[in-house]
Subunit: 201 residues, 2 copies
Amino acid sequence: MATRTAIEVPYHHGNLETALVDAAIVLVRKYGPDHLSLRAVSAEVGVSPSASYHHFGDKDALVSAIGNVLFDRLAIMQEKAIAKVNGKGASASIKKFEEMGNAYFAWAISEPNLYRLMLGGFCEINMDEHESKAWNLLRDGLDELAAHGVIDKSARNGGEVIVWSAVHGASSLAIEGLMPPSDFPLVLKSIKRSLGIKPKD
Amino acid sequence: MATRTAIEVPYHHGNLETALVDAAIVLVRKYGPDHLSLRAVSAEVGVSPSASYHHFGDKDALVSAIGNVLFDRLAIMQEKAIAKVNGKGASASIKKFEEMGNAYFAWAISEPNLYRLMLGGFCEINMDEHESKAWNLLRDGLDELAAHGVIDKSARNGGEVIVWSAVHGASSLAIEGLMPPSDFPLVLKSIKRSLGIKPKD
DNA sequence: TCCCTTATCTATACAATGTTCAGATTATGG
DNA sequence: CCATAATCTGAACATTGTATAGATAAGGGA
């Protein structure tokens, strides 16, 4: 199982697979998803280039592994943000929803290269396993809004796709310098408006 | 100036620059923005690899040139779609707005690799020159909606970013297989709702 | 404890890539 | 018509992904 915590003790010989992923993430963050070199990753870990091929059949396989790890990290950030919100009423569910979006956007623009790898066509995303963590978070958030009567059923329908499109689009545009990050509140407000959540300001 | 039509007459020696861009687009479409090879492009045109360096200082420069050309093509598709709508009233302006979004999305998912190149961090987008064509299209569309009283000023504010975020996000997610293309109408409807355009169905 | 099987890693090699540089070719304009 | 600039070629270099064959280490049954 090996739940992939960042630091693990017996490193040099042992858990090469996770070591490669961790080193690759560092390099991708620095130099971007294109420009990732398998040889550089191997060198960073202190291992021969060929060694990687016993754990990943391909460079693309490594990249896909990275992608799925990153989706987990992003989901964890969102969970942390949600956990900070206390209260249980309708307004708390709205606050949680907002903080989920803010956490997503903040993480994306703080890690442009990692985010590009995740959603730029570099990796095959395992929709059923990892990605579901983030997806379920969104689904639960919308369900909670519906349960509190903040949004009605017609707005609930397809809400995941609507929200993710807007938040991902904003993240991507901001990363590419086509939208000032300071405009994200506008986007978030428009999402709430499209869901029928009334702004209180 | 050389407005870059696809076919031009004196080709072998002459307008290498546009020939390289055209050939590169063909290869990117086939194999993706990563996996683009300068040597392959040069071979396709029938020229030495070094020849490219007299027109583009870098591989990245070629890629950026491609990106800006593609933004033009996308804008042209949108213009065509708008031109098909006749009438001049409020409902025509809504129809034009919808068709603009549909054309964007349709082009994006029909050219996933080209779209990835445009907005996946591969190229520096010339915001002031080329990109403005698509941006102005969106701005004018929103202005027209506002002029006909379909949307009010508070919705007009920041409308470009809101709309582009949602449409680009949906395009990107669909391309990466994370959203069924058949869900785009849902996204479009949510955009209209967030702008305060009442659905007529 | 010894040995055999299996997992893991190294060494070497190969074709393809981006890029550079010196030289050849072509066009241009005075 | 020729000198000067623009354009293209050829060969070279370091680096890349990847395949193959062999070395090393680990593990488990006798």
